[in-house]
């Protein structure tokens, strides 16, 4: 690829990873804040319950005093019973507040203990003597009662202040946590927004570059791609299927070129790499093979010579070509071919399909001699040549079609060459859906049924 550089893709991946990491931290932070706020709310609920219980406690204490006064004034046992009931209620409520406060709020706990001690002492030193001797209304007892009353009122007020202070503090703390959480969330949203904008800009740029590249490549490919040349006694069909729109265009090429009245050179090749570089190489392959064929039409010689030229012309070790070159005699239907690592070549004869063996390695990798094979086609036979887009197309489960799958497709296809090519392309499009990763070139040559091979 030219413009869509490795660095751009790496940058996008790094940004995405950073985004995911940040998202993880943000989610974790949100849960933490939620936990803190829930904890604060729970404490606040405790304080508020203690405040309610405290008011109830004060009411019970007043009930105690009023019942005592009622008894002293009327001597009615009803008030004595009321006094006992209020005392019991007071003790239970005091225990409940202690339980609510637990080990927290030491200040309020201490004040509550003082309050309970005062009440107990009041019962022992004021209430008990008066209950025992209702007529005993000494001034000294009245003063002690006043003393208790003063202290209890003040202590209760102090407890109220302590609880209210803690409640306010917790409320401030909750507000601070909420503020902090809001600011953090705003910061995260801002960061994510900016990152999303950057990523989107990256993606837009990549898409634009890819689209430009595809446009250029398509123009080049259209210029270099052969139309199906008519051959005597043969039916020729072809198809070309482009990869998904988000993929770079590959370097697939085919050519049918008549070198004489009764001889045709058949070429199909797949150049490694994609984009403009591959498209340019496509043209190079097509015209170089034609140029070599001017001197020798022997497929083995063409591949051997082309391999030398390619190795010298292209310095990039990652560029290589799989190529099938065949010389078809349209009188005898003898096909002499050489296949440099191009295994997507098949012959269909009636209901049987065979895969043509390769006769050498891919080109551009090493200088090795190439072999050649000769087969004789019969009327009704179809030579099917394709690029690896046929066998490597994947279904939804990610499974490749494979050579066997391709052979089964060819076996079931219609007899006509063009129909066969179209059906294969349709099958690939259906299998790959939007995930067709590679271009596909198909060339089909069918020997017509009525053709008679001349000796």
């Amino acid at each position: 690829m030219r413009g869509v550089s490795f660095a751009s893709v790496t940058g996008t991946m790094l940004l995405t990873a950073f985004l995911l990491l940040s998202l993880g931290f943000a989610v974790e932070g949100s849960f933490e804040t939620r936990g803190e706020i829930a904890n604060t709310f729970a404490r606040q609920a405790q304080i508020q319950q203690a405040q309610i219980d405290l008011e109830e406690l004060l009411r019970l204490q007043i009930d105690e005093e009023n019942s005592l006064r009622g008894y002293l004034l009327t001597r009615d046992p009803f008030y004595n019973a009321e006094y006992r009931s209020a005392s019991t209620g007071y003790d239970e409520k005091e225990a409940a507040i202690r339980k609510t406060l637990g080990n927290q709020l030491l200040g309020a706990n201490k004040l509550l203990a003082d309050y309970a001690r005062l009440q107990l002492e009041w019962r022992n030193t004021v209430a008990a003597p008066l209950l025992a001797h209702p007529r005993l209304r000494l001034e000294e007892l009245d003063k002690r009662n006043k003393l208790f009353s003063d202290y209890e009122t003040l202590t209760a007020a102090a407890i109220r202040r302590e609880l209210a202070g803690t409640d306010d503090e917790l409320e401030r703390s909750t507000q601070m946590q909420l503020d902090r959480s809001s600011y953090l969330r705003a910061a995260w949203v801002l960061a994510f927004g900016l990152l999303a904008i950057v990523l989107n800009a990256y993606r837009t740029r990549l898409n634009r570059e890819l689209e430009e590249e595809r446009a250029v490549t398509r123009v080049l490919q259209k210029a270099f791609r052969s139309e199906s040349t008519p051959l005597p006694h043969c039916d020729v069909g072809s198809a070309y299927l482009s990869a998904s729109s988000d993929r770079a265009v590959g370097g697939d090429v085919f050519d049918v070129y008549r070198v004489s009245e009764n001889q045709a050179l058949i070429l199909i090749a797949d150049i490694s790499g994609k984009g403009v570089d591959a498209a340019v190489l496509t043209a190079f392959v097509k015209f170089m093979v034609r140029a070599i064929a001017l001197r020798s039409t022997d497929p083995m010689a063409i591949l051997t010579e082309f391999n030398v030229v390619l190795s010298k012309a292209v310095a990039d070790p990652y560029i290589f070509v799989s190529m099938f070159v065949g010389l078809l005699d349209t009188d005898t239907f003898a096909l002499r071919y050489a296949s440099g690592g191009h295994d997507t070549a098949f012959v269909r004869r009636r209901n049987d399909v065979v895969q043509l063996a390769i006769t050498g390695p891919v080109l551009g990798v090493m200088e090795e001699p190439f072999g050649a094979e000769t087969i004789y086609l019969q009327p009704g036979d179809t030579l099917v040549l394709a690029t690896d887009g046929l066998t490597e197309v994947r279904n939804r489960a990610g499974e490749q079609l494979s050579g066997q799958g391709a052979m089964e497709l060819i076996e079931r296809a219609s007899p006509g060459a063009q129909q066969l090519a179209d059906e294969l392309a349709a099958a690939v499009r259906e299998r790959g859906g939007s995930r067709v990763r590679d271009d596909l070139a198909i060339l089909a040559i069918r020997v017509l049924d009525g053709a008679v091979a001349s000796a």
Partner: protein
């Protein structure tokens, strides 16, 4: 001229400070004694120092001081002799309270002078 202005500023500051620290009742004012609604009777002390100590003391210390106090029924009348603003301080008070010297004008203690807490006196409006 400058000195006169400075003098004026000082005077105004002093007057403002006095106003801020003013008592809730004033000398000669007729008052009624009434404490809290929970227990409206009022403890009256024989000296302002004991009044202050009673509120600053612990419960046990305060109890020991009770012989120096007299309990007045709520509604007892009196006339303000003097008032000391913010004289009584207690760890349980939110802010200091006044100490008010009162001549009792009703009840068994009529004619005696006692000290009471500022919040225990209410101005009385004669008809």
């Amino acid at each position: 001229m400058l000195k006169a202005c400075a003098f004026l500023v000082v005077c105004l500051t002093l007057v403002s400070a006095n106003a801020l620290a003013d008592c809730r009742v004033h000398r000669g004012e007729h008052v009624v004694l009434f404490s809290t609604t929970d227990d409206p009777s009022v403890l009256m002390w024989d000296s302002r120092t004991r009044l202050r100590e009673y509120h600053a003391a612990s419960f046990d210390e305060a109890q020991a001081m009770l012989p120096h106090a007299v309990l007045a029924s709520p509604g007892t009348h009196g006339d303000v002799v003097t008032c000391l603003p913010g004289y009584v301080v207690s760890p349980l008070f939110t802010s200091p309270d006044d100490a008010v010297g009162v001549t009792i004008s009703s009840g068994p203690l009529k004619g005696t002078v006692r000290w009471v807490l500022g919040s225990d006196v209410r101005p009385r409006h004669k008809n």
